[in-house]
Symmetry: C2
Subunit: 150 residues, 2 copies
DNA sequence: GGTGAAACGTAGGCCGT
DNA sequence: ACGGCCTACGTTTCACC
């Protein structure tokens, strides 16, 4: 369907590192003329290989100094229960990621909050009050030696 | 040190959603003239509030259809052992994230691979062969109802 | 913070391969 | 089908108010 050659991969690598590269600079990096390069980038965007662009913000400097991963076990495995839980996660601004995983529990969340107190509030008032939730285990992030999705 | 007003927050929200917004479009969204808007964005970049910009790629369409989270327990808690492990994670292209966490194990990884076979190879040949690694538990991602860091 | 103008980058038509 | 050239147009960026 979409097959990517060497130049496409170079474009994707360059834009992953710096999504604000100008087309002119990008064309020099990948060794193409500006117009040929632009056409490729537009095609990658059109076909959904490039899903979008994002500014990467500093958690500390935007008042989100506390990050944790949480595993969530539900007490029912029915579709309505899952949908209700996922709806609640989508509505919660502290939840940056919600993954449906295999294993002993159903979900893995990434949560960002201002501090431990704000996290505690989220944990007990929001997560703890959902009727579908059975088990919660928190893993506080002390550091991220690697985070390419920063 | 860095205190952010309402307009700054609007800028950050807009650029988080679309990191390629032109300064002109951004200035209209936040209700500033282009030059004033640009000065703010440059200040946010200079002070590290905006850490960078990234293209968000489709895992499926770039040949990474398999995603898993892995918890890793080490058999020594010494600094050299941690550093050796973190070095190996930084060197492994399949590892997109490596977080140092609290709890029963030391690390949480996010790994992306082409398919289950490629993952198995990484799991046994790379992770399994590191002398510091004691326990490995894999959680395969079946779906991500929410992923704002996409 | 806004204005204006010069410098710069973008984007699309066109042609060659 | 894909790359390079050319050029009109839009955007960025900076000194100045």
């Amino acid at each position: 369907m979409t097959d990517l050659d060497d130049i496409d991969h170079r474009i994707l690598r360059a834009l992953s590192r710096d999504g604000r590269l100008s087309n002119l600079a990008l064309s020099e990096i990948v060794g193409l003329s500006p117009s040929a390069c632009l056409r490729r980038v537009q095609a990658l965007e059109r076909t959904g290989v490039i899903k979008g662009y994002r500014a990467v913000l500093s958690g500390e400097k935007t008042g989100k100094a506390f990050t944790a991963y949480i595993t969530v076990g539900l007490n029912q495995h029915t579709k309505p229960a899952q949908e209700a839980f996922e709806r609640a996660m989508r509505a919660a601004p502290q939840v940056r990621e919600c993954h449906n995983i295999t294993g002993a529990v159903e979900y893995l969340l990434r949560v960002e909050a201002a501090d431990l107190a704000a996290y505690k509030h989220f944990h007990t008032e929001i997560l703890g009050s959902l009727p579908q939730v059975n088990t919660l285990t928190t893993y506080v992030v002390m550091g991220s030696p690697k985070d390419e999705r920063a």
